[in-house]
């Protein structure tokens, strides 16, 4: 039985796909057989971030409609063993996803995989609900910024009412906060919400923090999950996050501003 994890946020552009790609890759690097599914029907992008856009023949909607089987649609990652991608359709509309169809596909994947990562589209429409409906756990990707935090709050409300677990009265979806684009130096100056502020407001535990970093754009330019980058900043942050998810203790990094020569001179 696979564990199903949705990566969601409400707001667009906060790092859901980047996080999905790196979290899935990180789990696979740790030896867990993992598939990452793009639920953003009509606006697929996970394939680009994962660098397999030219290998997409069949997609998730083809599988749901019975036009292809999973074996045909699953794309095996060429760099990382145990990692597979299921692309979104580029042409269909979002109503192509139905609870029955998605449920059937996830059941089938569940027999074969340890983890199923569902990369949610932005918004709170059908696509986002489909991505979260069957989830056991959720990563809430949030930027330290008012609109992102409010949207995350909305999504938390949906997780506790619109998911299968909520509707069937099972144990609720386990929620994890992932803060991305964090600039410790601006937090230090009182210009940016701190990690404590955000987890206070949203009232969910922090799984990881990814610093604002040039590496993220460089990696997506190259179609390479940022977790594959060396230990430095964003790559290391995603590795830590995966370790914590697997139950290991890792201190939070990148939460302190780097001290410059002047700061040290002034005893700050």
């Amino acid at each position: 039985m696979a564990k199903i994890i949705v990566v969601t946020s409400g707001k667009g552009g906060v790092g859901k796909t980047t996080t999905s790609a790196s979290f899935a890759a990180g789990l696979a690097l740790r030896g867990h057989k993992t598939v990452v599914i793009d639920f953003d029907v009509g606006l697929r992008n996970l394939d680009l971030i994962m660098g397999c856009e030219r290998r997409v023949v069949f997609d998730f909607v083809n599988v749901i409609n019975g036009e292809a089987n999973l074996k045909q649609a699953l794309i095996r990652d060429k760099r990382i063993e145990n990692l597979y991608i299921l692309a979104a359709s580029q042409t269909r509309d979002k109503d192509a996803l139905t609870k029955e169809g998605v449920g059937r596909a996830l059941d089938k994947l569940s027999e074969d995989f340890d983890y199923i990562i569902c990369d949610s589209p932005a918004g709170i429409e059908t696509g986002a609900i489909m991505a979260m409906y069957f989830a056991d756990e959720a990563l809430i990707v949030t930027n330290p910024e008012v609109s992102s935090v409010r949207d995350s709050d909305r999504v938390l409300g949906m997780l506790s009412s619109k998911t299968k677990r909520a509707q069937e009265g099972d144990e609720p979806v386990k929620e994890h906060l992932v803060v991305t684009r964090y600039a410790a130096s601006r937090v230090g100056k009182g210009e940016m919400l701190s990690l404590d502020d955000i987890s206070d407001i949203l009232a969910i535990p922090l799984l990881g923090v990814v610093p604002e970093s040039e590496t993220v754009l460089n990696s997506s330019n190259a179609g390479q999950p940022v977790v594959l980058e060396n230990e430095a900043d964003a790559g290391g942050a995603y590795k830590d996050m995966v370790s914590r998810f697997l139950g290991e203790e890792r201190p939070m990094r990148y939460t302190q501003a780097k001290k410059g020569f002047f700061d040290r001179l002034m005893g700050r």
């Binding site: 935090v149 409010r150 709050d153 502020d197 407001i201």
Partner: protein, 87 residues
């Protein structure tokens, strides 16, 4: 703390403003999660005081609020203490 801190202004950062604003708008979720008082309480308390003061002079602690939950039912208890009359 460095000696230069003396010259730094004690200006409130914009992050603090962001936090206070968010605490008001995400109130519905925190109130639903049980336990603590809802995050909108402080703001509601201030608003009620402002309305009262249009008509009567009251102190800062004139409005007492509490929330109680019994199953699906939520009861907001509101106590307003009037100042002692002066005649």
């Amino acid at each position: 703390m460095g000696w230069l801190d003396v010259f730094r202004s004690e200006k409130k950062g914009s992050a603090q403003t962001a936090k206070e604003r968010l605490q008001v708008v995400v109130a519905h979720r925190r109130s639903g999660s049980g336990g603590n008082q809802p995050a909108y309480f402080p703001q509601l308390q201030q608003d009620l005081l402002a309305v009262l003061r249009k008509y009567i002079e009251v102190g800062d602690d004139a409005v007492q609020m509490d929330i109680e939950r019994e199953g699906d039912l939520e009861v907001l208890e509101l106590n307003i203490t009037l100042p002692e009359s002066r005649h």
